[in-house]
Symmetry: C2
């Protein structure tokens, strides 16, 4: 295992210490609890947006804490759900009195822990009046039921939900509306990914899976879970088609629909290739009669140093595009602030 780390057991907390040191103006980091929140604390009267998940997907989620996006994030071990206590701590930090929306990627461990955290809060006198609503993200069309997951896995759409609902919360919308919007964005988004190589979980020390030198895996999960099929390495335009076809078949957009597209790197693929892949995806979307309203290209939901990418397509509308464009200031996504 070749990594820029010290003891594999300390990777997550030392990485969070780096985030704290790099962004002292924006982030407050509790290294004991591994919870990251906005420097300035919760915004009174605003719905608090919380997300969490295993480490190894950076900048997701801690990198999306800041104005216009999350209020707090909690961070599990690499590829491991945070525990309920961490989630409860994040809820409290995010609570400005208008309730908390908890965005959870659909993995069994994360879902169970989120349910337990919600119950803990409901049953604690300290948290009387703290309302928590949970929304699940399950946008990965590759497989139904999978390692770690009942139903579809939550992947790239998480970033879109966090950005768009983050903007809505910033506008002062109530919890029920924020939750409805989050579900609407998730319902209108689909993703699929491809791996060229596997990442290595530091505590494991060996690659999660192995692919032959001429082999790629279509439909890969962000923890290296099996995808749809292993096929021979092929030109980028064929890879793009193999990802986009199931996404569009499942999403079934109408011609002329505006879409928000994310071409996401898995961590080990250079930006030059991501832009090249985006060119192929953009060409296919236009050929399908869709109108690309907004685009995001880069490493946003990663899987350690896995080489590969994923495509997320969101059927947008004027409201979604307006909320997408709203100011945001986080380490991982920033504009107009």
């Amino acid at each position: 295992m070749k990594k820029l780390i010290n003891d594999p057991a300390d990777v997550v907390v030392e990485s969070l210490a780096g985030m704290a040191a790099a962004h002292p103006d924006r982030l407050a980091v509790d290294l004991g609890l591994r919870v990251v929140s906005r420097r300035e604390g919760a915004t009174p009267g605003k719905v608090g947006l919380v997300a969490g998940g295993g480490a190894g997907h950076e900048p997701l989620h801690a990198g999306y804490v800041g104005r216009g996006m999350l209020d707090a994030a909690c961070c599990g071990e690499v590829f491991t759900s945070p525990v309920p206590d961490q989630m409860v701590a994040a809820f409290r930090l995010a609570d400005g009195g208008a309730g908390v929306l908890h965005v959870v990627k659909n993995y069994t461990g994360d879902v169970l822990n989120a349910e337990m955290a919600a119950e803990l809060v409901a049953g604690t006198a300290d948290d009387e009046g703290l309302q928590v609503e949970t929304v699940l993200v399950d946008d990965d069309v590759a497989v139904h039921d999978s390692l770690f997951t009942a139903g579809r896995r939550g992947v790239g759409a998480t970033v879109l939900v966090e950005k768009i609902v983050g903007a809505a919360a910033e506008e002062g919308r109530p919890l029920a509306e924020c939750a409805e919007l989050a579900r609407r964005v998730n319902d209108r988004a689909r993703s699929m990914g491809v791996a060229l190589t596997s990442g290595t979980v530091p505590a494991a020390g060996l690659p999660t899976f192995s692919l032959a030198e001429d082999e790629i895996e279509l439909g890969i999960g962000i923890h290296g879970e099996p995808g749809r099929e292993r096929v021979l390495l092929r030109p980028a335009r064929e890879v793009a088609a193999a990802l986009l076809e199931p996404v569009l078949t499942d999403l079934a957009p109408d011609r002329g629909d505006p879409v928000v597209v994310m071409l996401n790197g898995m961590g080990g693929t250079p930006l030059m290739e991501l832009y090249l892949m985006y060119h192929e995806v953009h060409t296919l979307l236009e050929a399908a009669g869709l109108r690309v309203a907004r685009t995001l290209v880069g490493n946003h939901v990663t899987s350690l140093e896995m080489a590969g990418c994923s495509v997320t397509v969101l059927r947008a509308d004027d409201e979604i595009v307006r909320l997408w464009d709203a100011p945001v200031n986080t380490p991982g996504l920033r504009w107009s602030l």
Copy 2:
């Protein structure tokens, strides 16, 4: 070779086509000339900032075109200088009547082509009155004279020069002042990098160099040029010390000096590790009595999918920090806009 590409010969132009498709609001891309410029054209009365270089270092340079940074960038083949005609085309696109500052990383090919481009402009009636001043960036402390380079190589400080001088140009400062500032920033900045793995140039099809499974190379160049020494893989804190020690020795800052620090990923290292490395660097800088004024962590000057990172330290002052903080809106760096 496992890459998300089509024909290796088309990688650069297809990647630029992806940039054009992803950023239609900001960028104008001439795919024939492989020159990227601001959508809105040159700003009348403003010094135009131009940079160029081989592809494979994305987001450098095309990803730094936009308000507050570059006016135009030209793009050579992977790890190959752009030719003088491309540079001249970029000068013309960037020229708002106040002259053009050409930022060139110190590699022999780039320097010779830049000289030729400046001569071409000086000798062409079309360009009468177009003043071009060239500044070299040579911040890499690892080696003196190297493959492709006489003197020191230009690496991470390029981003700092482009950002800081970009802000100065936006303020309306004249060409001579912008050039003086660029040289001052370069003089006050030092970098050093480390590789864990090699990238593969698409046209070559094989890794540029090879390292054993337990070996890293200190002082690596961004084209895989040899560094100072190959050593055994070691904990991140020792790698950080091995990079920072020669940087600080050469820079010789005074205790209490404010510094701008970039912890740069080489393309294949995940953000989790970059933040962990930043934690080590930050700790060492504080132990050296320096004050970290601003921090940038991420993939900014890459070397294809190379795993590894580099550290750049800039001795700042109030003016430099103020210009660093000035608004910028490019695909690769964006804030306050």
